[in-house]
């Protein structure tokens, strides 16, 4: 028993050894973004005092701050800051197709997704939200949750885990649960729609960020080329890549637009990120969109 515990701990430490650079990277991105966002400075349910305001008809009697009111002639209502801590489930695609980079200058899609996910988690933790990975675990808050999540992220890099699917695994989430999904979403649109609609049927809101390599958009290859998928999809021989490039552009655009439309239809947010672009801007967009979702 002790030996097994030791083994587990050893594995954890191994994983943690890889963690710091990832965390540092993610934290740096998160910090950049956090400076540009100014919390949810508005009235809402919460513990922290926000402001006093003159009583208006319709306010409940319980909300009147009698002490403040006694100081003056008017009645004052004590308002607290909006502090509805929400649970956010995070997921990123860890399938084989994500381990791809067309150029050594760009990171792999998987790496970029991990960083974006961690940075997002970091931002959410700063905002006091409860976070967890979409793996059936319970959301938690605080730095511990963040580190826990990072550990799972790196430890679960192996295949055959529930996370190693190219689509988010379906599981029952509380109504109004928040979902953040990172992935290339290159699966057939029908599969994606079926999966998304199941989540949406639960009343879950989601932010979908499609992470693509530039080569997947432009198809920059030339000549006679045999393409091979990264997830054993099979092979295809293209006699002259130049001649099919236009058609491919049409297809990939259709796919992206289809995904965007799907998200719009089910009331989700959608973002597109290419690995040759900066992760900060992507994160900012995502965070803003997520904030809007959370505020609703």
């Amino acid at each position: 028993m002790a030996a097994k515990a030791l083994h587990v701990r050893h594995r954890a430490e191994q994983a943690a050894a890889r963690l710091p650079p990832l965390m540092v990277h993610a934290e740096r991105i998160a910090a950049t973004v956090a400076q540009g966002v100014h919390g949810r400075r508005r009235v809402g349910q919460g513990e922290t005092f926000w402001q006093f305001r003159r009583y208006e008809p319709g306010d409940t009697l319980q909300s009147i701050d009698w002490r403040q009111s006694a100081k003056t002639e008017h009645l004052f209502v004590r308002e607290t800051e909006w502090e509805a801590a929400q649970s956010v489930w995070l997921w990123r695609d860890a399938s084989g197709s994500m381990r791809y980079s067309s150029d050594r200058k760009h990171p792999e899609k998987a790496e970029r997704s991990d960083i974006l996910l961690l940075a997002m988690a970091s931002l959410l933790v700063r905002g006091g939200e409860r976070i967890t990975l979409l793996d059936g675990s319970r959301p938690a808050s605080g730095r511990a949750a963040l580190e826990n999540l990072a550990l799972k992220l790196t430890a679960d890099a192996g295949a055959n885990s529930p996370l190693a699917d190219s689509l988010p695994p379906f599981m029952a989430l509380p109504r109004h649960g928040q979902l953040v999904l990172f992935g290339d979403f290159l699966s057939p649109l029908e599969d994606i729609e079926a999966r998304f609609r199941r989540f949406a049927a639960q009343g879950v809101k989601a932010y979908v960020m499609q992470v693509l390599d530039p080569a997947e958009e432009t198809l920059p290859f030339r000549g006679r080329t045999r393409f091979e998928g990264l997830e054993d999809e099979g092979r295809v021989l293209v006699k002259r890549v130049e001649t099919v490039r236009e058609d491919y552009h049409g297809r990939i655009n259709d796919h992206i637009e289809g995904l965007r439309g799907l998200c719009r239809r089910i009331g989700w947010s959608y973002g597109l990120h290419r690995t040759d672009h900066s992760p900060e801007s992507a994160l900012l967009t995502a965070y803003m969109a997520l904030s809007a979702l959370l505020a609703r």
Partner: protein, 910 residues
């Protein structure tokens, strides 16, 4: 075989393959290249993508051309292209290969080997039989004979074994041998050695009968040169260099080598345009010339370009006994005149009294009749003859009248006159020389007449002693073996007084034979066999004689022509060396001109064929590799070159790191100095105080301590920094290495041996100073030089005197009036001033104050003995005395010069 000028294809039909190139072109056009393999995540989107362009994938034109070139190269290579193909042998039957391998073939043997290799390659390709015939006799002396019909591979074995012979080829025998040959449809290839002769012509005719002849010869300029044996001319050797033909000037270098192969002379000789030969004059001092064993021509690789030099070419010292003054008024009557004229060109002549001549090694001594010798000289001469000298005497009036025992045969008193006013008989000529005589082989001129001679008493052994006779049988030259040497007498005079022999060329030849005899060439014993010692191979290199070479009888040596039985080289025994050279047997050189009828002629020089097949195939392979690399590049499969560069870098670094290890090989030098050397190094690496070991242990110990104490004081106070003191054994050690020796005299001391005394005397004479300490307080001031001399044995003590006032010893460092030691008051003696040996520096200082006792200190530099009468001042003065003495020894009278300083200053002041 398809010929296109200098090019040819051995398998031309393969060239039809070039027609397939358009097909290859078409195939390459329609066959798309292998696709690149790309891993791509969005592959689903590529499925079922309509592929509009179905035309074959485009191969770049340059790549297409590259591949076509590769194919063309392979085809052309398989057609076996040759440059300079071996011509001739036009018929399809067997090839008769005639190889001249006489001496002349050696010069360009390498090109022959190349040609043969090409030809046999071709015979092998064309599966033709080969018959090989080498025209020189084999080493075992067999006449040239053709082989059986061989396959090319077998013929190659045989050809490989053929070597150029150091003797002449025998085309005549070869022609006879092929007369028996029957070959169908044969062609002949004749590798000619380039020399014309009737025999070669006959061989050519015989070959032409067998089939069409291809004659391969050297270019005229490449034919070998012949070096003729040198002739002495004055003090020089003159060697003639002959060539074939006479066109164009040619510069040749002739080298003279000694027995170790060192080049003693390297003389250029220019054969002018239009001349067949040139004479090279080799000027060498007699000593060097006598070391010459071999002359050869630089750049010549034949046996005829080498002349081995034996004793015949050496100048031997010949002494003529003569008084210093010559009657110069009538030189033509002087015997010396004729002897000098006859011997001068061949020998090194010396003239003088017997004694002087015998002081230096000398081979032949000539005693003319006019020379008078004392009885002493007579004994000396006799002794010298017995030791191996050759004494040659001439008859004359003195010998005829005198009673001289130093003659080989007993002589009758008086002389015999043949012809003259009072006789009927005419002056006699010479009989032919007998076979056993050293003169055998010389032709006797008919006009030589002897009119007077001395006669030998008839005796049993007279005939055996006679080397030459007159026509009537009376001995003219007699000789007798005495000990190891010879005593010879010519029974007539060395001037024309008694005969005109001295005027004839025969006189010169006879004298030369005599001189040659003195060196041990036993011409008299013609039965001696001269076995081969070192022979030349076909390239003129000295080699161990082949087993088939046999000895030559000395009598027949001069007539021997080099051949398989007697290859050119050095023959003889330990004492007798004769050289057998090839070049005298070679007649005048003429270029081969009698080309057989219908023969095609070619030359070796440009005949080497080049086979392009391997090169073309290699080029095709390279192109294939290039094509593969290009293909990999185009498909993006080539790993990045950075790694390869790094590997190269690592290798280079490793090599650079290993280099110093190789260079810094251990270089241990053994320090092998003898004991004497070590002693000398020890004595001279520092200035050392030394004392003479007396054998008395206590005294020696005190001396050592004293020298150490004095050394310490010297180091402290002066710039003299002596090393550790050394004990000297006067009997054995070298004394000259020390400036000063301290010599304590102990009671009862044995005087030094004669040898040691001689050493000490030499030491003093060469500037050393002997410090003698009598250590005797009792004898204060009371000893005399005689007594001291007795104690010192053979050591030569000069006259002594007490140290005078103002002596250098009193001021060489400190100003001193006394020289106390352990005792005070004893007189110190130095060489008395009037002796001007060693620049006035005293060779010896003698005292009795036991200085060593005062100087001696223990290990902690405390004095070992008290001084008497005592006081630190006395010890201080004792040390000052020591310092002064050392300074005196090191600087001599340097301080004495200052004696004159006041005077000099006074003069300058005025």
């Amino acid at each position: 075989m398809l010929s296109l000028g200098a090019f040819a294809f051995a398998s031309p039909w393969i060239l039809w393959g070039l027609l397939s190139l358009p097909v290859i072109w078409w195939l390459l056009r329609i066959t798309p290249p292998a696709p690149k393999l790309v891993r791509f995540p969005a592959i689903r989107l590529l499925f079922r993508l309509p592929q509009k362009e179905d035309t074959p994938v485009h191969t770049p034109l340059w790549l297409l051309l590259l591949r076509l070139l590769t194919a063309a190269l392979v085809i052309v290579a398989l057609a076996h292209p040759l440059h300079n193909p071996t011509a001739g042998a036009t018929r399809s039957g067997p090839i008769l290969l005639v190889i001249d391998n006489g001496w002349a073939a050696a010069q360009n043997w390498q090109s022959r080997i190349g040609y043969l290799s090409d030809l046999l390659d071709r015979a092998e390709r064309e599966r033709r039989g080969v018959v090989v015939l080498a025209t020189a006799p084999t080493v075992s002396g067999e006449a040239p004979a053709p082989t059986k019909l061989l396959r090319a591979a077998q013929a190659r074995q045989i050809v490989r074994a053929i070597r150029p012979a150091p003797w002449k080829s025998e085309p005549k025998a070869a022609a006879a041998a092929i007369g028996t040959l029957t070959l169908k449809d044969a062609s002949v290839v004749w590798l000619n050695e380039g020399l014309e002769s009737a025999d070669a012509k006959a061989l050519g005719a015989a070959l032409a009968k067998i089939g069409p002849v291809t004659l391969v010869t050297d270019q005229a300029g490449a034919l070998p040169l012949v070096l003729r044996p040198p002739k002495p001319q004055g003090g020089n050797l003159v060697a003639r260099i002959e060539r074939v033909g006479s066109s164009g000037a040619r510069l040749v270098r002739i080298r003279a080598l000694d027995d170790k192969g060192a080049v003693l002379a390297n003389v250029p000789a220019q054969i002018p345009d239009g001349k067949r030969f040139a004479d090279a004059v080799i000027e060498l001092p007699a000593e060097l010339r006598n070391r010459v064993v071999r002359l050869d021509l630089a750049g010549q690789r034949t046996a005829a370009g080498v002349v081995l030099v034996d004793e015949r070419w050496r100048r031997r010292p010949v002494g003529i006994v003569a008084q210093r003054t010559i009657a110069s008024g009538q030189p033509l009557l002087s015997e010396l005149y004729y002897l000098e004229r006859a011997l001068g060109p061949y020998t090194e002549l010396r003239r003088g009294p017997t004694r002087e001549l015998l002081d230096r090694p000398i081979a032949v001594m000539i005693l003319p009749d006019g020379a008078t010798i004392s009885a002493d000289d007579r004994l000396r001469l006799e002794k010298w003859v017995r030791a191996g000298g050759l004494l040659l005497r001439f008859a004359g009036a003195n010998l005829a009248e005198g009673d001289d025992a130093l003659v080989p045969v007993k002589l009758r008193r008086g002389d015999r006159s043949v012809g003259g006013a009072m006789t009927w008989a005419k002056p006699l000529g010479l009989a032919d020389f007998a076979a056993g005589s050293p003169f055998s082989g010389l032709t006797v001129p008919t006009d030589v007449r002897v009119s007077r001679q001395v006669l030998a008493e008839p005796s049993a052994d007279l005939a055996a002693k006679t080397w030459a006779r007159l026509a009537d049988g009376t001995p003219l030259v007699t000789a007798e073996r005495r000990g190891k040497g010879w005593l010879a007498l010519i029974h007539t005079s060395a001037n024309p007084e008694w005969s005109n022999l001295a005027l004839s060329g025969l006189f010169v030849e006879m004298l030369r034979r005599m001189v040659a005899l003195s060196q041990g060439i036993a011409g008299a014993d013609a039965r001696i066999n001269l076995p081969p010692r070192r022979t030349l191979d076909g390239f003129g290199r000295p080699v161990r004689p082949p087993a088939t070479a046999i000895a030559i009888a000395a009598a027949a040596f001069a007539k021997t022509v080099p051949g398989p039985r007697h290859p050119p080289g050095l023959y003889g025994t330990e004492t007798i060396r004769r050289s057998l050279n090839l070049s005298p047997s070679i007649a005048r050189l003429r270029a081969f001109a009698s080309v057989p009828q219908g023969a095609t002629q070619s030359f070796y020089k440009d005949a080497r064929q080049t086979d392009f097949k391997p090169w073309l195939l290699a080029a095709a392979l390279l192109l294939l590799i290039l094509d593969t690399i290009i293909g990999l590049l185009m498909r993006g499969l080539l790993p990045l070159p950075g790694r390869a560069a790094a590997a190269v870098g690592v290798v280079a670094l490793a090599a650079a790191a290993a280099l110093p290890l190789l260079v810094a090989a251990p270089n241990a030098i053994a320090q092998d100095g003898s004991l004497d050397d070590q002693f000398a190094i020890k004595a001279t690496s520092k200035t050392r105080l030394a004392y003479i070991r007396t054998g008395n242990a206590e005294t020696d110990q005190v001396s050592l301590a004293a020298m150490r104490g004095l050394g310490a004081i010297l180091r402290r106070r002066t710039s003299v920094e002596p090393g550790d003191p050394m004990a000297i054994d006067a009997e054995n050690d070298e004394l000259a290495l020390f400036p000063m020796l301290y010599w304590p005299i102990v009671p009862g001391q044995t005087p030094p041996s004669e040898q040691a005394a001689a050493r000490l005397n030499r030491f003093m004479r060469s500037g050393g100073i002997l410090l003698i300490d009598l250590r005797d307080p009792a004898g204060q001031g009371s000893f005399d030089t005689i007594a001291l001399r007795r104690a010192l044995g053979g050591v030569r003590i000069p006259a002594l005197a007490p140290v005078p006032r103002g002596h250098v010893l009193t001021k060489s460092f400190y100003l001193l009036q006394q020289f106390p030691g352990r005792w005070a008051g004893g007189t110190v003696w130095v060489q008395s001033g009037n002796q001007k040996v060693n620049d006035g520096v005293s060779q010896v200082v003698v005292g009795s104050n036991d200085w060593a006792g005062a100087w001696a200190v223990d290990a902690s530099l405390r004095p070992m003995f008290p001084v008497v009468p005592g006081g630190s001042l006395q010890r201080e003065h004792a040390f000052r005395t020591g310092i002064n003495i050392v300074m005196f020894a090191l600087t001599g009278n340097y301080k004495a010069d200052q004696v004159h300083l006041p005077t000099i200053m006074r003069r300058l002041g005025q």
